[in-house]
Symmetry: C2
Subunit: 201 residues, 2 copies
Amino acid sequence: MEKIAETDYPVMDVIQRRWSPRAISHRPVEPEKLRSIFEAARWAPSCYNNQSWRFLVATQEDPAEYERMLGCLVEQNIRWVRFAPVLTICVAPLNMEFDGKPNRHAFFDAGLASENMILQAVDLGLCIHPMAGFSPDRVREIYHVPEGFEPITAFAVGYPGDPESLPDNLKEAEYAPRTRRPIREFVFTGDWGQTAPVVQE
Amino acid sequence: MEKIAETDYPVMDVIQRRWSPRAISHRPVEPEKLRSIFEAARWAPSCYNNQSWRFLVATQEDPAEYERMLGCLVEQNIRWVRFAPVLTICVAPLNMEFDGKPNRHAFFDAGLASENMILQAVDLGLCIHPMAGFSPDRVREIYHVPEGFEPITAFAVGYPGDPESLPDNLKEAEYAPRTRRPIREFVFTGDWGQTAPVVQE
């Protein structure tokens, strides 16, 4: 299913088509496509080029590994995620590599890289659903994530699936239109809350 | 100047071409292009669709406003930034709108939106240089940023300029090749630090 954003101003096709479906096909994802989505993450900008992102990944091809990662998610996510062929978890280093000091931009930069990954996926016909609903502690324990690294976001990756395959209580969200506050409500000039003239027509 | 990433695996053209130049032309940016870059930010995913991003923006068309924002940057950035026609600062709400509780994903989601903005800019022939070097306290004070919101990253926006116009000590970085650790060093399966088979060929 497609769910094209109803934009007020023109944006790139991949940004307009990107959304976070729960209906994901069990069709496997080609390894070369997975390499491309991580390669896209690789080239994001970051504070002092610290590259504040690592990814843990599991695919259905390795059922034991897949189940281990699936077990890190909350129950509400497991219900629909378990058909997704690929799971990945973004882990952010909290400190700067060059001096070991706390990096205020760690999560922000992990977000920059993750959005590259998401858009690259869309460009390849895939979809990615980011999830906050997982246990960072469990990830830390299972994967021996070292101190100073923080599991931040999990993702289900795959080809778009059939919304009708979802449990009834999830179908509604799947078909609901995408909503966002318009740019005049979050782009300010001069003072907080004052719409920037440049975004007013 | 272009600085195409030497990727190991294919990625989208905008991701390959995106970089963070300091040489930015003083040519003004069309308002419709600015609307498109913020519109792109608008459609990023976010935890509970909280849309954890606001942007403060100043353009050279309003010199007083521009100088106010420029004054929030650190001296090393002001030197090269002052020719950029547009400055913007991303501010993240730290709490969830629906229940007021702390949002662990605030900075991450602000990063997702900012990368949409950056790539949209590249797609329109613009460039964006993100900067950690500014005073969040000064931004808070000048723009009356309310409690619970955190200025996270500043950006210089414009058309690519001439690297030869930069001071000598900045030219070197401008011409230096872009470097990143390869994906086999940050995509793991099974255990921390263990390269994922799927990214090995």
